[in-house]
């Protein structure tokens, strides 16, 4: 059985600019695979090549064993695509939106209603079926789009920034929905996101992309383990002696201490060991520990390590959503 997605040395150039530069990876069946990177990193170009929206300049890509260049319509039949912009028709009802797409995908008439009813149940929108989409909240609209992307029972689902612009509660609901439909429909999911915490908790494997290149690819856990310094301890102290920061710096595993003797941040490659040693040292010196927090390395740290920059620093292209706002303002 072929891999869900197999990308080999894919390149996409726009005139002199290389948006995707020789990327290769394989997505296994049944996994949730995250593409992580700033805007302009090449994530969207990559996803557009895999969903047949733009042809690659060179290299090949297969989805469910079908070549995206040689048989784009074959690929289109097995993929569900949920674009970043909310593109459901606001004037049409939830049901009508799904019906139109069922027809576009050539779902046989006798299966349509049953299929749509099942999908609406999956995304918990059954009671809203006949409401116009414009009455729904952002999170519910995203769920309409997820159902829309599944209307032809695809095997691979592509989601471009599925939670961008949603509140934290809706974001969690969307992720749970993705996980649920993935299991119900035996899907493989490829998604892009720039929420590190979400990628961390929901993706089986993550590819970090920057400047069109694949910088790292592994499970979140192993990516975090792959970089030096795994924990940060933040603690405040009472009645600390003058050389207390020096004492902290000499503890086992400590790489660096910042702050002062009253509130210190300790970077370490072994949080539990350093914490234990710190308590022992405090007891010996008669120092009281007033507060303590031990943080793990996050994907943010991984991202900075592999790309040398923060995700937030990238210059943004106006998104489709921004453009639609401009339209509505009549500009």
């Amino acid at each position: 059985m072929p891999a869900a997605i197999d990308v080999m040395h894919i390149v996409r150039k726009f005139d002199d600019f290389t948006a995707v530069d020789d990327i290769s990876f394989t997505v296994r069946r049944g996994e949730i695979f995250g593409l992580l990177g700033p805007n302009g990193a090449g994530k969207s170009t990559l996803i557009r090549m895999l969903t047949t929206l733009i042809p690659p300049t060179s290299g090949t890509a297969e989805v469910d064993g079908i070549d995206v260049v040689r048989d784009p319509n074959g690929v289109r039949k097995v993929i569900g695509v949920i674009p970043q912009a909310l593109t459901s028709d606001l004037e049409l009802s939830v049901y009508e939106n799904l019906l139109i797409f069922a027809k576009l995908y050539g779902v046989p008439r006798e299966n349509r209603n049953k299929l749509i009813a099942g999908l609406l149940e999956s995304v918990e929108l059954t009671q809203w079926a006949s409401e116009p989409v414009k009455k729904l909240s952002g999170g519910m609209r995203r769920r309409v789009e997820i159902a829309r992307g599944l209307v032809h029972s695809p095997r691979v689902l592509f989601l471009d920034e599925p939670t961008t612009g949603l509140d934290p509660v809706s974001r969690a609901a969307v992720w749970e929905m993705v996980k649920k439909v993935k299991e119900q429909h035996e899907l493989t999911v490829l998604l892009t996101t720039h929420y590190m915490d979400e990628a961390d908790s929901w993706c089986d494997r993550i590819a970090i992309v920057d400047h069109g290149r694949l910088m790292a690819l592994d499970s979140p856990l192993r990516l975090k383990a792959s970089i030096p310094g795994t924990n940060t301890i933040e603690a405040s102290f009472g009645s600390a002696p003058a050389d207390w920061t020096e004492q902290l710096a000499s503890l086992a595993g400590v790489e660096r201490v910042t702050g002062d003797a009253h509130v210190a941040r300790i970077a370490t490659d072994n949080g539990p060991e350093t914490t234990t040693a710190m308590f022992a040292a405090a007891a010996e010196a008669g120092v009281s520990v007033l507060s303590l927090a031990v943080e793990s390395t996050t994907l943010d740290d991984v991202f900075v390590h592999y790309t040398g920059r923060q995700l937030r620093d990238a210059l943004q292209e106006p998104s489709a959503a921004d453009r639609s706002i401009m339209i509505n303002r009549g500009r």
């Binding site: 557009r48 047949t52 929206l53 733009i54 695509v81 970043q84 593109t87 576009l104 339209i327 500009r331």
Partner: protein, 371 residues
Amino acid sequence: MHRTWAIIERELRRFRRSPMLIVMSLVMPIVQLIVLGYAFGGQVKHLRVGLVDQDHGVPAVRLHELSNAVASNAQTFTPQMYNDLGTALGDLRNGRLNGVLAIPPDFSRRMLVGSNPRVALIEDNTDNFVSASLAGAYSGLITSYNQPVASGQRTGTQTSLDVVEMYPYVPYIQYLLPGSIVMSIFMMVMIGGGIIFVDDKARGLHEGYLVTPITRLELILGFNLSGAIKAVLAGLVLMTIGSLIAGVPNPFEPLRLLRMFVVIVVTAVALVSMMFLFMVRVNDPLIPRATFGVLNTFLYFPSGAVYPTQAFPGWMRAISKIDPFTYAVHALKSLVLKNTGFGAIGLDLLFLALFSLASMTLATKLFRRTL
């Protein structure tokens, strides 16, 4: 007051950085000035007149010669000889002629015996500007025909001109109705095929289509047929309401409604194809909005919808020759004002069909199935 200035500064900065808006806000009034300036009140010229001489006597021949002289000087009309009155009147009815000058068989005899010789000018009076110019030109011609010539051979017999109007009087509102029907089709095409099409593209809605296994042809047909259906509905609504408002006689005569339906369908397809060609590669939602007014002015006024094309200067007649509005307006005027059959509008339908074919072929070549 500082806060007011902040708003003013912001608006002016934004305005300066939208060159398209600045250009369009200036182009539109200039285009209107030029197009409207030449669209109204020009001197009507190049009208086609059928000359039927049933007399062939010397006085009749003198009348032809005078007619040819006026034609080559003032160019108000171009005479064309016909052997029989029936053919000439047939062409007049079908719109190939604007008028027929009939010289009756006894014209020379009456002239010689001084018994009130008459000639008849039979006019297509569905265009008041045209018929008034033609009647004016011929009454001037007859006046000079009646002037005694230097040799003094004339007897002082005065020829009179009978102007015969083919149709009942056409009020201007009825004259405008065909243009308004075409305009309603254009508006729907502009909104549905222009503004919404490009907005949907910019919002990423078309991506939704492109990731489905729909073929290029299915997609193009879908966009254009949906646009055409909406445009036909708009045209039919205006045809019905407009006919009642304008007081068209027998507004619901079935055969005419059927013919008008055909013209409306063909027009809608032509305008939808044209709009698809214009917008197929456009991604900026501002463009259809900015070009709306200018396009409207260039298509509507030179079409003969509000004033006869025969009164336009050469460059504007050139526009009207390639303007699909011209042919749609002409066809609908034939049906609404003269109740003609398909014979009179066949060329209009042919032009619109070829125009659609050409636009659609070119647009299809430009259309991309990918982003």
